[in-house]
Every structure is written in C-alpha cells, then in structure tokens.
C-alpha cells in the first residue's frame, strides 16, 4: 500500500511541479499518437467505407487478414519498420529512425488496420435502408459516402478513439523506432519502461497515472465534440 501511496504522491508532484522534462515527454507522446491516428483515419476511414459498401471476390479473405492485423504485436511492427528505416534498410535515406516522425510512421502502421476494421463494422451496422434511400434519391457516390459517414459518425469516431488508445499506450514501437532519446523521442511509455528498468518503480507508476489522465483528457475532448455535433 505504502508503495502505491508514494507513487500517487510523486505523480501529483510531477504534474503540478511543472517539470519541463515531464511536460515534454507528455507532449511528445500526444504529438506522435495524434498525428499517427490522424493519418490512419485519413487513409483508413475511406478504405473502410469502400470495403463496407462494395462486394468483390476475395473479400472474406481481406476481412480475415484485417482481423488478424488487428492483433499485430507492437514489437513486431517496430522490428519490421526498423528493418526498413535503418541505414541498412531500403528507406534508410529518409533518416526517420530515432526521430518522432519515425515513431509516428510505426504507430500509423499499427493504427491503420484498427481504423479500417472498426469503420467497416460501424458502417455495416448502420440501417441498410439508408444506403437504398441515398441511391434512390440519386445521390452521387461521394454524396452517398458523406451521408453515410454523417449517419454513422458516432461509431466511426469510436473507431478512431480505439486506435488512438492503442497507439498512445504502446511501448514496443516507440522504443524500437524512437530509441527513448531524452529530450527528443522519449514518450510516456518508454519513460515508464526506463524508470522500471532502473528500479524506480514509483516514478514509473507515477508516469503511468499521468498517461491515464492524458488519455482521459483526450477522450473527454472527443466526447464533447461528439455531443456538440447536432
């Protein structure tokens, strides 16, 4: 018990001590996670939409693959991307390894299947009469897509929120592609791993609590936006 109380106390002093290092770590985490989720949504939502509305041969297989990819272990993504981004790899020239952009690229790969899959599920669970009505009213495909997205916006937002939750809490990719560089690519999760490795369990727990609070904040903002949207 003593242990938890101490951790809670140090979490408190970390947050309200306004230590610039802690804030930079939180900022880095939020930055890479939101940008990766944003890009994954820009790509994933339209792909999910098309997959939900179109039938084609081999669709069941695509679905199975997408479902499998949702279980991607983060360290595997990290390792794969490392092989690409290392100076020995095909994309080494970009110099993305051990930069925030490198982490964001890995997180994008992680988030994409989740966004596609959950968008697809969201649209499939919509009222089928919607699709028919749109068509009968003579809407163009783009108009149809827009209407459907508006009608399913809660479920689609939920897809994005799930993806964001997955990327902000993962540690494997951030560690492998970011390298946990102090003042540059250290994120909340890699900082927790580092402090645990040093045996500073209280500090690790404290950072974990901050991570939870940040996730709470982001979700609160998103839910407010959802509600405000009439």
């Amino acid at each position: 018990m003593d242990f938890l109380i101490k951790a809670f106390y140090s979490a408190w002093s970390l947050i309200f001590g306004f230590d610039p290092e802690v804030y930079f770590i939180v900022w880095t985490s939020v930055k890479v996670a939101t940008s990766a989720t944003f890009l994954a949504s820009v790509v994933g939502v339209p792909v999910g939409l098309v997959l939900a509305l179109r039938d084609f041969r081999g669709k069941p297989l695509v679905m199975v693959i997408l479902n499998t990819l949702m279980a991607l272990p983060t360290v595997a993504v990290g390792l794969l991307l490392y092989a690409f981004l290392s100076r020995r790899g095909p994309l080494g020239e970009l110099g993305l390894l051990f930069t925030p952009a490198g982490i964001a690229a890995g997180l994008f790969v992680l988030a994409l299947p989740t966004v596609i899959n959950l968008t697809l599920t969201a649209i499939r669970s919509a009222d089928p009469r919607l699709f028919v009505t749109c068509k009968l009213l003579g809407a163009t495909p783009v108009q149809q897509a827009w209407k459907i997205l508006r009608e399913t916006r809660f479920a689609v937002t939920a897809a994005i929120v799930v993806a964001l939750g997955r990327v902000i809490s993962e540690v494997g990719i951030a560690m492998m592609l970011g390298g946990n560089i102090k003042g540059f690519t250290r994120t909340m999760t890699t900082a927790i791993a580092l402090e645990t490795g040093k045996g500073e369990f209280e500090l690790g727990l404290a950072l974990g609590m901050i991570l939870l609070m940040v996730a709470f904040g982001i979700n609160a903002v998103l839910s407010l936006l959802q509600r405000g949207e009439g």
Binding site: S35, L39, R87, F98, I181, T196, K198, G199, L225, E229
Partner: protein, 271 residues
C-alpha cells in the same frame, strides 16, 4: 461541421510538427544502460554539447544491441563495456579508433544472510561454483548486455552450465533485475554503479568483490565511415577526444552517487 474541420486542422498541424525535423546537428550515441541509469551522462554530455554546439542523442540499450546499432550505421559512436565484443566489432571493420574511457567493476550481490556462503569465496570463479551448488535463486540479465556477457564467461570458467529452476533469465535491465533478486531473495551479478544507485532501496549486500576477473572496462568506438558514409565521423571523433581528454576524464572522476565514486577514468593508459 465547423468543429470537425477545426479538429482536422489541429490534427494536421500536429502531424506536420512531428514530421518537421529540427535543423540542429545531432550526434547519435548508443550506450549501455549503466552509463545513463547512473546519471553519469547528464553531467558528461552538457559541456561538450555547449562547446561544440551539437545535441548528443543517447540511445541506451544493452551492449549487444548498442553494437548492433553501430553495425547497421544507425548511430555515430558507441560507448559500451564488453571488451571481447568490442574487439570483434573493430576487427570486422564496423568500428574504428577504439579507446579506453573508464572502468569500474562488477560485484556479486545477494541476500544479507548469504545462504549460499559466497562470502567465503576467494575468486569470482569460485563464487560462481558455490552459487551453482547452493541452488539459491540466481537472476540473470539474459539480455546480451555487457553484464550478461560477463556472467556467461564466469559460468564458463567455473565449468557450470546454468540450468534449472534456480537460474532465472529475466531479460531485463539491471535495475529491474536487482529488484527481482531482492524480491526472490536471490543473487545476481551487477555493475557496481547500478548497485550503488539502488543500494538504499534493497535489502541486498555485496557478497563478493575485488577480483581481476570481474573488472569492468568501458570503451568508446567511432562507427567506421567507410562502412557507413552517412555517419558523422568527424563529430564522433571530436566527442571521443572530449571524453578521453582531460576535461571529460575529470567529469568522470568527479562524478559521485550517494557519496561514492562510480567510474574511474582510464583513458591515460593506452589500450
């Protein structure tokens, strides 16, 4: 709809900020966890960063991985502690200009009552034989770090193949392994720096120390620019000159944790 657009704009801005990499010069160094965890680098790097106007990015991992990153050309310089692996790294042409930086030593730590009676050992090898016979839990780093390599060479010299329920391969950093040794009332091999850093929090004591077999020298190596032309060789050499020069060596000698000196400069001696 406006809110959604605002949100999209914010996200896009964040994405842009992530991708714009700063223009400042960065030197990349992979190193072992012990140099960063002990806090040495927080005093060793700033004078160089200030004088040279660069930022040193530290990637702290086990020695095995630190060297691997050098092999792949992902870092400019490596600071590690595993002499045999370092020499191999240089011999295979991945690194150039290896220099001694500093040393400390490894210690065998265990429960204060010392159930395996290791305190009586005369040499490190004898201590390891006793550990194998005593069957008290032994927590191994198991992560190909410098400490792990040292531990393996000691088992080999003792003629023991560590196996069985008493031998725990943790696959974690020194801090976590010390914590595990404490929780399981077991023994482990630790570098003195990491142990001193955590001594106050753990009910563990040094049960064996002071044998030349468990001497722990650190070396610094520049990544070979002929293998990886994109690495910043000149800057790496400037950094090596600083660390092995009088200024860097003094910082190392003056660095203390809990009132104890952790590292002893050794650059004066030629390798």
């Amino acid at each position: 709809m406006r809110k959604v657009l605002v949100l999209v704009a914010v996200f896009a801005l964040l994405a842009f900020m992530t991708c714009s990499v700063g223009a400042e010069t960065r030197l990349r160094m992979s190193t072992t966890t012990s140099t960063e965890d002990s806090g040495l680098l927080t005093v060793l790097l700033p004078p160089f960063e200030k004088a040279a106007g660069v930022k040193v990015d530290v990637i702290s991992v086990g020695t095995g991985k630190a060297l691997k990153l050098g092999e792949n050309g992902d870092v400019d310089v490596v600071l590690v502690h595993a002499r045999a692996a370092e020499d191999k790294f240089v011999a295979e042409g991945y690194g150039v200009d290896r220099r001694d930086v500093m040393y400390n030593d490894f210690v065998v730590v265990g429960p204060k009552d010392d159930p395996a009676g290791v305190k009586k050992a005369k040499t490190a090898v004898e201590a390891f034989k006793m550990l194998a016979e005593g069957k008290a839990p032994f927590i191994s780093r198991g992560d190909d770090s410098g400490t792990h390599k040292m531990e393996q060479s000691l088992w080999k010299k003792a003629g023991v193949v560590p196996k069985g329920s008493w031998y725990v391969e943790a696959g974690q950093g020194m801090g976590a392994v010390l914590q595990m040794a404490f929780d399981k009332k077991g023994y482990t091999l630790a570098d003195r720096g990491s142990f001193i850093a955590q001594e106050g929090k753990l009910d563990l004591a040094i049960v064996f120390e002071g044998d030349k077999d468990i001497f722990n020298p650190y070396g610094i190596i520049a990544v070979n620019p002929k293998k990886h032309p994109k690495t910043q060789y000149d800057l790496a050499m400037k950094f090596i000159d600083y660390v092995t020069g009088p200024e860097g060596q003094k910082v190392i000698a003056d660095f203390k944790l809990n009132g104890k000196q952790l590292f002893f400069p050794s650059a004066a001696k030629k390798p």
